[in-house]
Subunit: 171 residues, 2 copies
């Protein structure tokens, strides 16, 4: 008698079920549309893409409005290379300036300038509004809570340094 309730072919790919496919498609579509929408909104109103705006926000929230490059990259979930380019551009706009780190001669601080802070002050209301309209105003409190939990789980699973962490018995 077969004790396995399901054939479970070890090497046959576990395709997504019809329901899973619908979920996945909804996710991809919403994520694409949303990022696109916010990129356009911010490009129009603040003259920069969403990611760059996020960098300014992180800096504004940080003590002395500054962060080490690597730290900023980690917070924003982007590569240091990408950050280097981004900061170069923001520097050209006068919204960020670089400063040497005194304790580590390799290190650089990205510092939010007054001008950069002013751009944030002026454009934040419009951006919050866009986010509300696109997301929060459309979801019930329960859905908002749910979304937070779900995305936190996904993010944690993808955090750098997680390679194979879900298969610890193989290490």
């Amino acid at each position: 008698m077969n004790t396995a309730p399901i054939p479970a072919p070890a090497d046959e790919p576990r395709w997504l079920t019809a329901e899973e496919q619908l979920v996945w498609r909804s996710y991809i579509e919403a994520a694409t549309l949303l990022e696109d929408h916010l990129d356009r909104q911010l490009q129009r109103d603040a003259g920069m893409p969403h990611v760059y705006y996020g960098l300014l926000v992180k800096l504004a929230e940080s003590p002395r409005r500054r962060l080490r490059m690597t730290e900023l990259a980690r917070y924003a979930k982007i590569t240091r290379s990408r950050l280097s380019h981004a900061i170069a551009r923001l520097e050209k706009n006068g919204w960020v300036r670089r400063e040497d780190c005194p304790s580590d001669k390799r290190g650089q601080f990205a510092v939010l300038t007054d001008e950069g802070h002013e751009v944030l002050r002026r454009t934040a209301p419009g951006h919050v509004n866009a986010v509300r309209q696109a997301v929060f105003d459309r979801l019930t409190p329960e859905q908002q809570k749910s979304l937070g939990e779900i995305m936190r789980i996904v993010a944690e699973g993808l955090e750098p340094g997680e390679t194979g962490a879900d298969l610890p018995w193989l290490r």
Copy 2:
């Protein structure tokens, strides 16, 4: 006596609450990490970014493995311009070919080639696996369902042609 339960300053921006901020940050982080992760996975295993892979999938699902450019762009939620460039690249790879539309001389079909189909066949298992590992394997069935509903709502709200559709009384 003031009948308004809350001051509700008409022009003061409705900032996100602390809870909303956490939800929003989780979303941004997960979306960034996830797209990045899948881009890398597909670039490594299939030689193309996630969006391009999605285009091939749409074509594979379509009758006669072909779609009009505009239709494909609409399905994939990208601009026609972006699609033009993308198809040009995929064409260079031999995975897609263009065909004139007989009934509309402006029109073009994007057609999945056998070679393109073969790439999909070979790389789909790995990709499904990556999606499962990053998303579905980490969520309960209820969370999966919830995610689908939430993202469907968000996507619908951003569907092109929705400009001001949430303020119908202004039209």
